[in-house]
Every structure is written in structure tokens, then in C-alpha cells.
């Protein structure tokens, strides 16, 4: 297998983000002169990116399988770019900021995932976005997004990481709002506020991340990942193996970034709304890549996290996993289900990181990217096929109309539900195993919570996913009557149809990865459950290799590991099948009427169906008070500050005069009281300037006397 060659590979890696960036620029400025508005150019570019990423990943995998170290920093043997200063300050100066590429096992895997998913999404979009009035903008934007994500993966430095992180936020904003520019589109109005909500909510998390970065920079005078890890270990060592408090604080702030970007409770509210964007966007940004960046951040900063932070991470992650899954069971919007599913799955990853199983979290991130992207694309295909219908209650029986989509969707559903042989099983199983392991070795509440919440979430996952499958693809088609009178004039065929080839090719590609992405069981048929050989990802990435040997694998006794493994295997299998079964009973076999359960649950159901009223709570506690505060301050500024500043000394009155002259009729309410003020102030001079000469003389004599008296008496 090829080995990493600094001479050429750094250039290749630079080309990876550069290609989509170039594509963006070209498409933005040359859209009119390009045939087909340049979609082929960008998709072709993405194919090259995918090829490079896979080629590079192959080197990493090979190294991993060979048990070799694979950890490359461009500033050591390639290039480093002084960002802030190029003369006068050395690249190593703490003031300066040097950008480089960090390419390790995790980065390689992530790069490959992003490259693959991006390519397929591009491909999918060619079919899906056909006829959109801002077609070229869409492609330009999604290209730029890809650039940002790739850059983020490659950055060796927290600040550069943050730059791409925010850039993704911008692209997310623009892409969610894609339909906001299209008045004809039914989701136009939703999109306008959804994009804003997404950006602002993640912005809160980003700001936390910024603060966390500042604290680390303040203490360590660097933001380079490797340096941070090393210094953090030294700092901990200096404190006798304990993490100082400031690191806990800083770690929590950093985790804030993850909460925002990866849609963890309570900042998850933006993600369901983000589904207003075009489906390829949901697939790529809000399922496979961008939201995973939060987890990736945890992966990059894991050595900085104190146990206290990790406990918080665990609780937040597992709670989010369970919480989002419950909502997922009640949603009827096909993309909504997937959105809550994404939140839930992200909770799994976050919880894994909190539990110390960073590697498993990352693994789940990879597999999730494949199957969730596929699910979304399938959903997109369904929506496309059903003429932009998203409500599952108006679908059904699509299996017959769209067989390819159905197959792909089924494969991905099995993957997410954690059915063995499908990719999701391997990663989710590891996470649950970690939870048990940690519960057994550390007697702490966070781990116990995770150990209870995660399997429950897995159960619900299987349930709602199969609910989706049953409602969409099985039974009879329920969309005809709605279409019958609602969209008479559309002129479309009212029967759902299979999507064109770019869509189906993309679906198939991703579905394949959804099946095989976890473990190459076809290559190792003897060990389909990966009991003996760990899946490829775990052979490539391990805790030691991830942080250059700085973080050791937690020691778990053989016995405990075995116990946990067994427990996890059985439980995850059990819950997956249980979920499937319940869904089958409810929605396919119709043995139980869902309505009865709803009635039985009463208020609980309503709470869940209304997303626990989180949006309403946030609206009431954050949004309204903020706007109220803003209005109050506006009032304060216009009436009080202006007043106080003017009132300092004489300005108020004089300004009053001026305004009075200028607004002769007192048109402006702000200066209405001015007439009176003018009178009051002017009367002093007026009092004396009576026009009567004898009074003048009197005043003058009196004034003169006062002066004389002052001179005599003082």
C-alpha cells in the first residue's frame, strides 16, 4: 500500500479544499457562460475531491491496518502559513497565527466521508434541483460549503478550525434560506425565518466556543491542536493529575460550540427548522457533515476536557439522544422524523465522547454520515416523486412506485436501527458497550444515565424509523385524493414516480456505504458481528494514535469488557428488533391503533408532539425578552441618554431651541416640550432686557454696586 509522501501529498490535500472553492468562484461569476449552469463542473470537481480523499484515506487505512503511526502535520514537513503577520513577527510568536494541515487517521476518515457524501449530494442535486430558479447559486453555495467542511477537517489549529466552522454556519444559513428567495416555492416563508434561527442558535454556541478558545489561548498562548494537547497534559500533570478549574470552565465553553453546531439540547431547536432547506442540503449539512463537525470538535479537543466536562457531555448527549427520539416518534413530516433522528444520533456521538469512547463517537459519526445522508436523499427522492409532498400521512405504498428508493431507504433504515451487518450496528453497539463498561468501572451518575438512556433511545430509533418506512412505503398510496383537488392545475402526473438517474445513482452509492461502511463483513465473512476483528475504523483510529500517544486507552479488565460486550450486543439487538416489532404492530399490522395509545398518553403525547414546547419556551424566555430589551434600550436611548447627555450643562436647552427653530411647528414629538424650555431659559436674559432705559440704568447701578461690594468685602 502507498505511504504518505509529504512532497506530493500536502499539495494534494491542499487541492482538496481548493477545488470546491475554485468551483464556487467560477460558478458564481461565470454562471451565464457555462453550459448547464456549471453543475457538471462542480460535480466533476467533487468527484476529483472524492478520489483524492479516498486515495489519501487509503494510505491512512493501510497504515492503520499495519499498526503504524499515521500523524502528519504540514508545519513539520510541509508548509506553514503565517496568517496574521508575515514580517516582523515569527511564525511561532503567540501573537501570530500559523495555519497548517493536520492529517491524521481521524482527519483522513472524515475527509473521505465528506468527500464521498459531498460528491453524492452534488450528483443527487443535479436531479433534484432541476428547474430551480437559483440553480447555479445552489451549486455555488453547496460547493463553498464543501470547501469549508473540508478545510475544517484539515485544519491543525483551533482558530482556523473556527474560521471554517463559522463559514459553514454562513453556508448553512444561505442554503437553508435557499427557498426564501423563491416566492413561488411553498416553503418560502418558513425558510426565511428558519435560516435566521439556525444561524443565530448556532451563533450562541459559536460564541461559547470562542470564549473557550480565548481561555485556552490566554493560558497556553497557542491554539494549535498538538500544542494544546501537550500543554493540557503538562498542566494536568502539574496539578497532580487533576484538571484545574479553569480547564473545566474552558472545556464547558468549548462544548458549548458542540451543543450549538451538533444541535444538542437545548440548542437543538434550529435543526428541525433547518429542514426548510432543499433536501440535498439537509442530507449533507444537517445530517452528514456540518452537524457532525461539533462531534469532530469534541474529537479534536478531547484531551482538554476534564472529567467534569465529560460528565456534562455525557448527560447532555444521552439526554438529547433520548429526548429527540421521543419527539421523532410523533412527527409526521418525513424530513422532520429524520431531523429528530439526526439530533438523537448526534446525542449518541456526543455521549460516546463524554463516556471516553471518542473513537466510537467518531465511528458513529462516519457511519451515520453514510446512512443518514442516504436516508435524507431517499426522503428527497420520495418528496420529489410525490411532487413536494412531505407529510407521511399522504404517502404510503410507494414501494411499488419507487423501488430503488425503497431499497436504499430500507437498507439505511436497517443501518440506523442497528440491525447487524448494517453499518449503524457496529458503531452504535460500541457506544452502548462503552456506556455499560463505564458504568461498571466508574460508579457515576452520568454513566448510569447514559447506560439507561442510550438503549432506550436506540429502541425508539428503531421504532420511529420503521414507522416511517411503514407509513411511506407500505400500505396504500394516500396522496392521490389530496392531490386530486389541491393541485389540479399543476399539470403534473398525480402518481408518484421514480426519480431520474442522478438521484438513484447517488442513492445506491450511499446505500451501499450504509450497508458496508461499518464493517467489511463481506471481506471477513467469518466475523459479521466484528467480535474478533474490530471494524475498519477502529483498527485505523485508536485513542493513542488520535492524540499522538498523549491520551492512553482507559484500562478495562477483560472480564468487564466481555461482560459489557455481551450485554451491549444483546441489548442493542433486542431494542432494534423490539422497535421494529412495535412499529410493525402499530403501523403495518394495525394490531394496535396508534390513536388509542395517543389517548392513553394524553398530555404526555401532546407535550412530545409539540416538541416539549421548547420553541415556545425559548421564544418566551429568550427571544421576546431580548427584543423587549432592545426596544426598551431603544426607548432609553432616544429619550434618556440623549436627554442626559444633552442635559449635561446647557446643551439640552440650547438643543431645544435649535430644534424648535428647525421644527417650527413642533412637528416632531421629541422636541415638543421645547417651547416651554425656551421660555424658561430665555426669561433670564429677557427679564432684564425690558426695553426700558431706566430699568437698564437701575440694573447697571445695582450691578456696579454688587461689584464694588464684592471688591470691598472680599
Amino acid at each position: 500500500m502507498p505511504r504518505f509522501d509529504p512532497a506530493t501529498d500536502w499539495k494534494l490535500l491542499l487541492a482538496v479544499p481548493a477545488i470546491p472553492l475554485a468551483g464556487f468562484v467560477v460558478n458564481l461569476f461565470l454562471e451565464r457562460s457555462l453550459p448547464r449552469k456549471g453543475d457538471w463542473l462542480l460535480t466533476g470537481g467533487m468527484f476529483v475531491v472524492m478520489a483524492i480523499a479516498l486515495w489519501m484515506a487509503a494510505k491512512a487505512i493501510a497504515a492503520g491496518f499495519a499498526g503504524e503511526e499515521f500523524f502528519h502535520q504540514s508545519r513539520q514537513d510541509g508548509f506553514a502559513w503565517s496568517w496574521l503577520y508575515q514580517t516582523g513577527k515569527s511564525p511561532d510568536s503567540p501573537l501570530n497565527l500559523t495555519a497548517g494541515i493536520l492529517y491524521d487517521n481521524l482527519g483522513a476518515a472524515m475527509l473521505a466521508v465528506v468527500g464521498v457524501v459531498s460528491f453524492f449530494v452534488h450528483l443527487f442535486s443535479i436531479g433534484y434541483m432541476k428547474g430551480d430558479r437559483r440553480y447555479h447559486i445552489f451549486f455555488a453555495n453547496i460547493s463553498l460549503f464543501t470547501f469549508a467542511m473540508l478545510g475544517l477537517v484539515l485544519s491543525d489549529n483551533l482558530l482556523i478550525f473556527f474560521v471554517f466552522w463559522e463559514l459553514m454556519g454562513l453556508m448553512s444559513y444561505l442554503l437553508i434560506g435557499h427557498f426564501a428567495h423563491d416566492p413561488g416555492h411553498p416553503r418560502n416563508l418558513f425558510a426565511t425565518s428558519a435560516c435566521k434561527k439556525a444561524f443565530l442558535t448556532t451563533r450562541v454556541g459559536d460564541t461559547c466556543l470562542l470564549v473557550g478558545m480565548m481561555i485556552f489561548y490566554w493560558k497556553f498562548q497557542t491554539l494549535q491542536f498538538t500544542e494544546l494537547w501537550r500543554l493540557a497534559q503538562e498542566e494536568v500533570a502539574r496539578h497532580g493529575g487533576y484538571y484545574p478549574t479553569w480547564m473545566t470552565v474552558a472545556g464547558l465553553f468549548i462544548f458549548g460550540g458542540t451543543v450549538g453546531k451538533s444541535a444538542q439540547f437545548p440548542l437543538h431547536i434550529w435543526l428541525p427548522d433547518a429542514m426548510e432547506g432543499p433536501t440535498p442540503v439537509s442530507a449533507m449539512i444537517h445530517a452528514a457533515t456540518m452537524v457532525a463537525a461539533g462531534v469532530f470538535l469534541l474529537g479534536r479537543t478531547f484531551p482538554l476536557m476534564s472529567p467534569e466536562v465529560l460528565a456534562v457531555v455525557t448527560v447532555v448527549g444521552s439526554f438529547t439522544a433520548l429526548f429527540a427520539a421521543t419527539i421523532g416518534t410523533t412527527v409526521n413530516d418525513i424530513k422532520g422524523v429524520l431531523a429528530y433522528s439526526t439530533i438523537s444520533q448526534l446525542g449518541f456521538m456526543v455521549a460516546a465522547c463524554g463516556l471516553g469512547g471518542v473513537v466510537f463517537g467518531m465511528f458513529h459519526m462516519v457511519t451515520h454520515a453514510f446512512f443518514k445522508a442516504c436516508l435524507f436523499l431517499c426522503a428527497g427522492s420520495v418528496i420529489h416523486g410525490c411532487h413536494h409532498e412531505q407529510d407521511m400521512r399522504r404517502m404510503g405504498g410507494l414501494r411499488k412506485f419507487m423501488p430503488v428508493t425503497f431499497a436504499c431507504m430500507l437498507a439505511s433504515t436497517l443501518a440506523i436501527a442497528g440491525i447487524p451487518l448494517f453499518s449503524g450496528f457496529y458503531s452504535k453497539d460500541e457506544i452502548i458497550k462503552t456506556a455499560f463498561e463505564r458504568s461498571l468501572t466508574h460508579f457515576e451518575g452520568a454513566s448510569f444515565f447514559a447506560a439507561l438512556a442510550l438503549p432506550a433511545a436506540a429502541l425508539l430509533t428503531a421504532f420511529y424509523m420503521f414507522r416511517l418506512m411503514f407509513m411511506t412505503f407500505f400500505g396504500a398510496y394516500r396522496g392521490a385524493e389530496a392531490h386530486g383537488h389541491g393541485h389540479e392545475d399543476h399539470g403534473h402526473a398525480h402518481v408518484p414516480h421514480e426519480s431520474p438517474w442522478p438521484i438513484t445513482v447517488a442513492l445506491c452509492g450511499l446505500a451501499l456505504l450504509g450497508i458496508l461502511g461499518g464493517h467489511f463483513w463481506l471481506a471477513a465473512p467469518g466475523d459479521p458481528l466484528a467480535s474478533h476483528t474490530p471494524p475498519w475504523f477502529l483498527r485505523m483510529v485508536s485513542l493513542e494514535r488520535l492524540y499522538g500517544g498523549l491520551v492512553a486507552e482507559p484500562h478495562v479488565s477483560e472480564h468487564v469488557e466481555h461482560q459489557a460486550h455481551g450485554l451491549a450486543l444483546s441489548i442493542s439487538l433486542g431494542v432494534a428488533l423490539a422497535g421494529l416489532l412495535i412499529a410493525f404492530l402499530l403501523y403495518q399490522a394495525r394490531k394496535i391503533d396508534p390513536a388509542r395509545i395517543v389517548r392513553a398518553l394524553g398530555g404526555v403525547y401532546h407535550t412530545v408532539a409539540n416538541k416539549y414546547w421548547i420553541d415556545e419556551i425559548v421564544n418566551a424566555t429568550v427571544v421576546r425578552p431580548t427584543i423587549g430589551l432592545a426596544l426598551a434600550q431603544k426607548w432609553f436611548d432616544e429619550n434618556v441618554v440623549d436627554g442626559i447627555v444633552n442635559g449635561l450643562g446647557i446643551l439640552n436647552r440650547t438643543l431645544g431651541f435649535v430644534s424648535a427653530w428647525f421644527d417650527l411647528k413642533g412637528v416632531d414629538g421629541a422636541v415638543n416640550g421645547v417651547g416651554a424650555t425656551t421660555q424658561a431659559f430665555g426669561s433670564v436674559a429677557r427679564l432684564f432686557q425690558t426695553g426700558r432705559i431706566q430699568q437698564y440704568v437701575t440694573f447697571a447701578v445695582a450691578g456696579g454696586l454688587l461689584l464694588a461690594a464684592w471688591l470691598i468685602l472680599s
Binding site: 440650547t654 431651541f657 435649535v658 432686557q689 432705559i693 440694573f699 461689584l707 471688591l711
Partner: protein, 498 residues
């Protein structure tokens, strides 16, 4: 006899002015008021002759002629500016057609007479001559203020002026009499000097015993000066008289008369308290009087500015503005230092320029709009851009913004004030100039910030050219500052021992 002629030569400008005043009077009588331009021309001729006579003696060392008349740089400074101002006023009268129906002979006669008064007022150390000069100026001014006989405003102005002026000069005379009693002399330079005249007492001796009598005498004399420069509390006549008097006369009062009052005031205080050679007690008491002046200065500028804020009439506003400016100049006076005095003189020079311009502007627009109201200027800036731009230069100079001559004057005043422990007064003055911005800007606002007016401006190229020239000078002297400043400093020779 040569010596006598020589002495006469020293007061040649005064003689010239007197002679020409009679000439124009007679000329007008002969011409029966039919050729007013010729009369004006002769007046200007007299003024220019006097001007060159002054210049020809400009470098001479200071000397006293006829026992009382002092010919020094200080006097020369004020005389030159007075001539320039008077010439401008005559020019204004000639440019204003409305003035022609009144007797121009008397007009120019009185103006020249007033100029003679100013010349003696600033050119003497003797209180008798000072008083005579001041009265000559006053009498001419009273009647000039009432020159529009048929106009009630003009008559009222002159009545107020004569009553206030009569009382003030009376009070001042009484003060002079007390000073005479305290020092036994009418010569300022001798008053402060230590007892060398064989008299039993002197200012120093009196101050040693008690300052109260000196205080009374000085306050009474200051009342007269305060009236002349319209400082609080002797300013009351100013707005009414300025408003009622014919505009060229107002110009004369605001510019020449007021500056002359300051010239005399500087000479009085400088000669009495600050001349080199006066005793320590006298110097110290001078500082005390300086504090009194400082208080007056603060009140004067504040009152002037605030009252000006409320005026609708540009003329009255400029009147209050001139009160405020008196306050600024008083700041320099209050320092009781050479630097302060020369700053005051510089500021007066600036004041000549910008107020001549501002009043000329007023006159120009009175001729067009027939009104003195600021509102009547609305949109005129677009009609008469050159004059209006010049006016803006005057206004920013009056406000005290660079790069104009007024700014530098204020700067010098501030520095002098600081050095003389008057930091608070500097602060008051600084804030006052902010207040003044309001009403000055109102004019600029009316001119330019409204749409073009429908009134049309009669072409008066000479007048316009004159105002533009003044405006250019206001700015140019604000950038090329050194000559005027050096001149003001050089002219401050009243403090030296003779």
C-alpha cells in the same frame, strides 16, 4: 518752533481728520446734498491721507507730545484699525442707497469726529484727554444712532444710548475724580508710580493703608469702560441701540467704538497697575482687579451668547454676539499680563475683520430683502454665493474655529488665561464658543440649508468684492498668522517704563 511743528506732525492724522470732517460738512452744504458720492469720496480721501500719515510714523519710537498726547505703537495699532473700520463704514454708507436721503455731510462729519475722539482716547495717558476723546466719540455716536430722524427705532436707540452713556460717563468722571484725589495726578503713568512727586500719598500708600478707596474709584472708572465695550452689567443699551441705529452706524459702534473702548481700557489698567516700575502692592492689587474683570468676562460672554440664541433679528443677534465677544476680550484683559493684553489686541484685530464682514453682510442683505430677520435670509446663499460663503468664513471665525483669524485669537486668549491662573475662565470661554455655534450656524443654515430663494440680488460688485476680500483675509490670516501676532505683540508698549 521746529519742536512745535514736530509735535504737530505727530498728531497730523488727527488734524487731517478734523480738517476733513469740516471739509465734508461744508462740501455737502455747498452741493446741497446732491452729490453724496463725492462727499463720501472726499471722506475716504481724508481717511487715506490720515492712514498714510500714520504709516509714515509707524516705526517711530513712542513719544509724548503736547504734554498729554502719547504717540506709540499701541495707539498706532488701534488708530490704524480704526481708520480701516471707519473707511469700511463710510463705504457701507456709500453703498447703501437708503442712507442717502439723510444728510450725508453730517453723517461723514460725525463719523470723522468720532474717529478723532477715538484717536485721542487711545493715544493718551492723561485721564482728561481720555475723557475728552471718549466724550467726543460718545456724542458723535449718540447722534449717529439717531441719524434716521424720522424713524422711531433710530430715535429710541439714540435716546437710550445718550441716557445710558451720559450716566456711565458721569459715573466714570466721578471715579476719575476720586482717583485724582487719591493720587494727586491725572497721568496714569504717574499714578501707579511710587511717591516721587512730593505728594503725601500715592496709590501704593493708599493700597498699603486700605484698598477700599481704590476699589471704589476703579470700579467707577471701569463702569465707564464697561459701558463703552458693553460688558455686563453696563451692556443693556447694546442690543437696543445696535438694533435701532442705522446699520452702518451699528457697524461703527460694534467695531470701532468698542475696540477703542478696549484700547483705552487696556491703557488704563496697564498704565495703572502693570507698568514696569509700579510697586508690588499695586501689582498685586492689579491681579485682584483682574479677577473682577474675569468675573465680568465670564458673565458677559455667557449672557451674550445665551441671549443671542433667542434672537430672530440678525442685527440684534450680532449685537449680543458683540457682547459675547467683549467677554472674550475681557478674558485677555483679566489676565493682567502682557501676554493677555497682546492676545486681547490680537483678538480685537480679528474682531475688526470678522464683525466688519458680518455687518457688511447684514447691510448687503437688508438692501435685498428689506428685513433684518435671519429667516429672511432663507435660501439666499444660492442667490449670492460669494457673499454668503464669505459670511460663513466670518461665522466660523466668530465661533472660533480654525483656520480663521478668530480661532487663533481665541487660542492666544486661552493660553494667556491659563498662564494667569484663569483656567476656569478658559473653560467657560471654551464652552461658550460651543453655545455660540448655535446661533452662528443658524445664519449658515438659513443661507444654505433651504432651497434657493426667489428673491433676486442686485449686482453690487464693489460691495461683494469688499466682503469677499474680508472673508479671504479672515481665513488667510488664520493660516498665515505670524505677522498679525507679531504686530500685536510689538504694539504692546504701554507697559514699559517711559
Amino acid at each position: 518752533m521746529d519742536a512745535y511743528l514736530d509735535q504737530l506732525g505727530s498728531i497730523a492724522p488727527e488734524i487731517t481728520l478734523t480738517v476733513f470732517s469740516l471739509i465734508v460738512l461744508v462740501q455737502d452744504l455747498i452741493q446741497k446734498g446732491r452729490n453724496s458720492d463725492a462727499v463720501g469720496g472726499v471722506t475716504l480721501l481724508g481717511l487715506s491721507i490720515a492712514f498714510f500719515q500714520l504709516l509714515s510714523h509707524a516705526g517711530d519710537p513712542s513719544r509724548t507730545v503736547f504734554g498729554m498726547v502719547v504717540v506709540d505703537h499701541f495707539a498706532g495699532f488701534f488708530k490704524l484699525f480704526t481708520l480701516a473700520a471707519v473707511a469700511a463704514v463710510v463705504f457701507f454708507v456709500m453703498s447703501d442707497r437708503r442712507e442717502r436721503k439723510h444728510g450725508v455731510g453730517e453723517y461723514y462729519f460725525l463719523i470723522l469726529g468720532a474717529a478723532v475722539g477715538i484717536f485721542f482716547m487711545v493715544g493718551t495717558n492723561n485721564l482728561l484727554l481720555l475723557m475728552l476723546g471718549l466724550e467726543l466719540l460718545s456724542l458723535a455716536s449718540y447722534s449717529l444712532a439717531g441719524f434716521h430722524k424720522g424713524s422711531r427705532k433710530s430715535a429710541e436707540a439714540s435716546m437710550k444710548y445718550v441716557i445710558f452713556g451720559g450716566m456711565s460717563t458721569g459715573v466714570m468722571l466721578y471715579g476719575i475724580s476720586l482717583l485724582y484725589g487719591l493720587t494727586g495726578t491725572l497721568d496714569l503713568t504717574a499714578m501707579g508710580a511710587s511717591a516721587g512727586s512730593g505728594l503725601a500719598s500715592s496709590l501704593a500708600a493708599q493700597l498699603h493703608a486700605s484698598p477700599v478707596p481704590v476699589a471704589i474709584a476703579v470700579v467707577l472708572v471701569l463702569a465707564g469702560f464697561a459701558y463703552k465695550v458693553s460688558a455686563v452689567p453696563f451692556h443693556f443699551w447694546t442690543p437696543d441701540v445696535y438694533e435701532g441705529a442705522p446699520t452702518p452706524v451699528t457697524t461703527f459702534l460694534a467695531v470701532a467704538s468698542k475696540a477703542a473702548g478696549f484700547g483705552a481700557l487696556l491703557r488704563f489698567l496697564g498704565g495703572l497697575f502693570m507698568r514696569s516700575g509700579v510697586g508690588a502692592d499695586v501689582l498685586q492689587y492689579g491681579a485682584r482687579i483682574g479677577l473682577l474683570v474675569a468675573i465680568l468676562s465670564a458673565i458677559t460672554m455667557t449672557l451674550g451668547n445665551f441671549a443671542a440664541l433667542r434672537q430672530q433679528s440678525l442685527k440684534r443677534m450680532l449685537a449680543y454676539s458683540s457682547i459675547a465677544h467683549a467677554g472674550y476680550v475681557l478674558l485677555g484683559v483679566a489676565t493682567m499680563t502682557g501676554a493677555g493684553f497682546s492676545a486681547a489686541m490680537y483678538y480685537l484685530a480679528a474682531y475688526y475683520l470678522m464683525n466688519l464682514g458680518a455687518f457688511g453682510f447684514l447691510l448687503y442683505f437688508e438692501g435685498i430683502t428689506g428685513s433684518e430677520d435671519v429667516d429672511s435670509l432663507k435660501g439666499m446663499g444660492w442667490k449670492a454665493p460669494a457673499v454668503s460663503v464669505a459670511m460663513v468664513a466670518f461665522l466660523i471665525s466668530l465661533t472660533g474655529l480654525p483656520p480663521t483669524v478668530g480661532f487663533y485669537g481665541k487660542y492666544l486668549l486661552f493660553v494667556a488665561g491659563w498662564n494667569a491662573n484663569l483656567g476656569w475662565l478658559v473653560l467657560v470661554a471654551a464652552l461658550n464658543s460651543v453655545v455660540s455655534l448655535f446661533y452662528y450656524l443658524r445664519v449658515a443654515k438659513a443661507l444654505f440649508l433651504t432651497d434657493e430663494s426667489s428673491k433676486s440680488a442686485a449686482p453690487q460688485p464693489l460691495f461683494v468684492g469688499f466682503l469677499v476680500l474680508l472673508g479671504a483675509a479672515t481665513v488667510a490670516l488664520g493660516i498665515y498668522i505670524q505677522p498679525l501676532q507679531s504686530w500685536a505683540e510689538r504694539s504692546l508698549d504701554i507697559l514699559a517704563r517711559t
